[in-house]
C-alpha cells in the first residue's frame, strides 16, 4: 500500500512540475497576457515572417492554428471550444456561416486598407456589401501536367483527361465538389447543378475515367506530382504554382469547358474574443507590401490591386494564375447548396471512389 501511495505522489509531483514549466515557458513567450489573437487558417497559407512582424508592430501575441477543409473549420467554430478571432473560409462557406449566424460584422472604418482591394473582388454575391468578409486569396481549379512525361499529349480541357494514353497517370484531389464538378463541367453542366440525374450522369462519366486514375489524395498531391509519381493532377491553382516552383517540367491550365473560381476570405467568427485585434490583423494583411510578400510566399493569386506593384512582373502577368477578365467570366463560383445537396454530392463521390478498376 505504501508503495502505491509513493507512486501516486510521484505522478502528482511530476505533473505539477510539468504544469509549472509550461506556465513559465508560456510567460516567457508572452502568452500569459490577455492581448492574444487566435487565427484559424488553411495549412501553408501565410508567410510566418509576417506573423512575427505583426506581433512586433502591435504587441499582440498570435496563436496560429490550421485546418484542411471548410467543413472541418465550420465544425470547430460551431462547437466554439476555441476562441478563434480570425478564420479564412471559402465563399460558399461564408454564405452558410452567415445563415447560421456565426459571423461578426466588420467595422470598415477600422480597415482603411480595404481600398487596396480590386473592385472586381468586392461586393460579390456571397457577401454583397463585404459586411462580413474581406477577400484573402483567389484562384481556380485546373489541371497540372508534366510536359516531359507526356511528350506530345497536349491538355487544354477536361475531356482531354479521358485520353487512353493517360492510363494510370492522373491524381485527383480528395474533394467532393472539385471532382464531381470536373464531371459536371466535362458534360457542360453547371458546377452548382443539383439535379440528381445530372449528378448521376457525371458520376458515370467519372467512373469511365477510373482506368486513368492512379489515386485520389489530399495535400500529398503536391509532393507526388513534383516527384513525378504521376504526370497529371487535378488541383487548385496555388498548389499548382507550388509544384511548378519545385519541378520546372510542370505546366498548369484552366480547362476550356470552364472550371471553379474560388475566394478565400478573412472573417471574424462568433467565437472571437479580441475583435479589435482581429480588425488590426485584417488591416495589416491588406497593406500592399505585406500582401505582396505574402502572395509571393503562398503563390495563390491576390485580390489586392495595390500589392501587384510590389510583386515581380512575371508573376503578375502570368495568365495561368491571373486569368484575363474574359476567361474569368467562364468560371463559376461555388454556391452554398445546402446540407441535403451536399450530402448527395458526397454520396456520389463516395460511390465513384468505390468504383474499382
Amino acid at each position: 500500500m505504501n508503495r502505491l501511495i509513493r507512486v501516486f505522489l510521484a505522478v502528482v509531483i511530476a505533473s505539477a512540475l510539468l504544469l509549472f514549466a509550461i506556465n513559465r515557458l508560456n510567460k516567457a513567450e508572452g502568452f500569459a497576457g490577455d492581448n492574444t489573437l487566435t487565427i484559424y487558417n488553411w495549412g501553408d497559407y501565410i508567410d510566418d515572417e509576417l506573423i512575427d512582424r505583426f506581433e512586433e508592430e502591435t504587441g499582440i501575441k498570435v496563436i496560429y492554428e490550421t485546418f484542411d477543409s471548410n467543413e472541418a473549420m465550420l465544425t470547430k467554430v460551431q462547437q466554439g471550444g476555441t476562441t478563434y478571432d480570425i478564420a479564412v473560409p471559402s465563399e460558399y462557406m461564408i454564405d452558410k456561416m452567415r445563415e447560421e449566424d456565426l459571423l461578426i460584422p466588420l467595422d470598415h472604418s477600422k480597415i482603411p486598407n480595404l481600398k487596396n482591394i480590386d473592385e472586381r473582388f468586392m461586393d460579390l454575391p456571397f457577401d454583397p456589401t463585404n459586411k462580413y468578409s474581406v477577400p484573402y486569396f483567389w484562384g481556380t481549379v485546373g489541371i497540372v501536367y508534366n510536359t516531359k512525361m507526356l511528350d506530345d499529349i497536349e491538355i487544354t480541357s477536361w475531356s482531354d483527361l479521358w485520353d487512353p494514353a493517360l492510363k494510370n497517370e492522373i491524381l485527383l484531389v480528395d474533394g467532393a465538389r472539385e471532382v464531381m464538378g470536373m464531371g459536371l463541367n466535362s458534360l457542360n453542366y453547371s458546377l452548382n447543378d443539383t439535379k440528381e440525374e445530372h449528378l448521376k450522369e457525371a458520376k458515370e462519366k467519372l467512373d469511365s475515367l477510373t482506368p486513368n486514375i492512379k489515386a485520389i489524395v489530399g495535400d500529398e498531391i503536391k509532393i507526388l506530382i513534383a516527384n513525378e509519381e504521376a504526370a497529371v493532377g487535378v488541383v487548385w491553382s496555388g498548389d499548382a504554382a507550388d509544384m511548378m516552383w519545385e519541378n520546372e517540367n510542370l505546366d498548369y491550365v484552366v480547362p476550356s469547358e470552364g472550371s471553379n473560381l474560388w475566394f478565400d476570405n478573412m472573417v471574424i467568427p462568433k467565437t472571437a474574443k479580441n475583435v479589435d485585434a482581429a480588425h488590426q490583423f485584417i488591416n495589416f494583411m491588406l497593406d500592399p507590401e505585406v500582401s505582396a510578400q505574402n502572395t509571393e510566399w503562398v503563390s495563390y493569386s491576390t485580390p489586392n490591386k495595390a500589392a501587384l506593384e510590389f510583386m515581380p512582373e512575371e508573376m503578375v502577368e502570368d495568365e495561368r494564375f491571373y486569368p484575363s477578365p474574359e476567361l474569368t467570366e467562364k468560371l463559376e463560383v461555388y454556391e452554398n447548396l445546402g446540407k441535403k445537396n451536399l450530402a448527395m454530392y458526397n454520396d456520389f463521390f463516395l460511390q465513384f471512389k468505390m468504383h474499382r478498376k
Binding site: 477543409s69 472541418a72 467532393a176 492512379k214 489524395v217 446540407k339 450530402a343
Partner: protein, 267 residues
C-alpha cells in the same frame, strides 16, 4: 466489513470514468444515428446502411481487416516463438516495440517515399531485373503497411503467453514420443491460444476502421467504414449517417469480442 466499504470507494473513479467516457459516448452515437440530415427523427440512416453501397463497403472493410489480421498472425507467431528462444529477449522485444512509438502519420509518409515510382523498392526491383512496378496505391501496399503497423500488437500477447508456457510440458511431450509438430499442435498452440485471440482482437478491430492509410497509402482505392465515417462527420456533416455506421461497427466489434473472448473455466 470495512474492507468492502473502501473497496467500493475505490470503485467510484473507475465507474465514473466508464460512465463518462465509454457508456455516454456510445449512447450519444446511438442517439445521433436516429436523426436524418435535416435533424428529423427517422430510421432513414439504417435503411441507407442496407443499400448496396454500404453493404459493399462493410464487406470490403471486413475482407481487408481479415487479411491484415491473418497475415499479421502468420508473421507474428513464428517471430514470437523465436523470440522466446533468444538470449536477450527483452532487447529484441524492445526493438520490435520501438517502431510503434513513432507517429503513424510519419510512418505512412515514409512509405510514400519507399514505395514510390522512384523509391528504394523500385530501384531494387530495377537492379534485380524485374523492372519498375506500381506499388503505391495498390491493395498490396495497403495491406503491407497495415500489417507493418499492427504487427507489434500481435507479437506482444503471443510472446507473453509463450513465455508463460511451462517448459516441462514440452519435455513431457517429448518423453512421451510426440513429434515436434504434434507437440506444437497438441501442446504449445492450445496453451497459447489466449494470446493469439487477444492479438487478433487488438489487430482486427482497429483494422476494421482504418481511415488515414486508405488515403495516404491506398490513394482512396480502398474504402473502409472508417473512411465513410470520417467523410460524414467532417465533410457532409451528416452526423446521423456517420453515427449509424459507427453503431454497426460497435455491434461488429462486440460480436467479434464475444466470439474470440476467453471463456473462464472454473471460478
Amino acid at each position: 466489513m470495512e474492507n468492502k466499504f473502501t473497496r467500493n470507494i475505490y470503485m467510484v473513479p473507475y465507474a465514473l470514468w466508464i460512465a463518462l467516457f465509454v457508456i455516454a459516448p456510445i449512447l450519444l452515437v446511438l442517439y445521433y444515428s436516429f436523426f436524418d440530415i435535416e435533424g428529423n427523427l427517422s430510421l432513414v440512416n439504417y435503411q441507407k446502411f442496407f443499400t448496396p453501397v454500404y453493404l459493399k463497403m462493410t464487406l470490403s472493410s471486413f475482407w481487408y481487416a481479415f487479411l491484415i489480421t491473418l497475415i499479421s498472425l502468420i508473421v507474428a507467431y513464428p517471430t514470437a516463438y523465436l523470440l522466446t528462444k533468444t538470449k536477450h529477449k527483452q532487447l529484441w522485444l524492445l526493438l520490435i516495440i520501438v517502431p510503434s512509438w513513432i507517429n503513424l502519420l510519419l510512418k505512412a509518409y515514409a512509405f510514400l517515399g519507399i514505395f514510390g515510382t522512384y523509391g528504394i523498392t523500385n530501384s531494387f526491383l530495377e537492379v534485380i531485373g524485374i523492372g519498375s512496378q506500381q506499388i503505391l496505391f495498390t491493395d498490396f501496399s495497403f495491406i503491407f503497411v497495415s500489417v507493418y503497423i499492427f504487427i507489434p500488437f500481435m507479437i506482444l500477447p503471443i510472446f507473453n503467453s509463450l513465455i508463460e508456457l511451462n517448459p516441462t510440458l514440452i519435455d513431457a511431450a517429448n518423453d512421451l514420443g510426440a513429434s515436434k509438430w504434434t507437440t506444437f499442435r497438441r501442446v504449445i498452440f492450445p496453451l497459447t491460444i489466449d494470446g493469439v485471440k487477444s492479438g487478433c482482437q487488438v489487430v482486427f478491430i482497429p483494422a476494421l476502421s482504418l481511415f488515414m492509410l486508405t488515403r495516404l497509402i491506398a490513394g482512396n482505392r480502398v474504402i473502409t467504414l472508417g473512411t465513410a465515417i470520417e467523410q460524414h462527420f467532417l465533410v457532409t456533416q451528416d452526423w446521423g449517417m456517420g453515427s449509424t455506421i459507427a453503431v454497426f461497427l460497435i455491434i461488429i466489434m462486440f460480436l467479434f469480442m464475444s466470439v474470440t473472448g476467453t471463456r473462464k473455466r472454473g471460478i
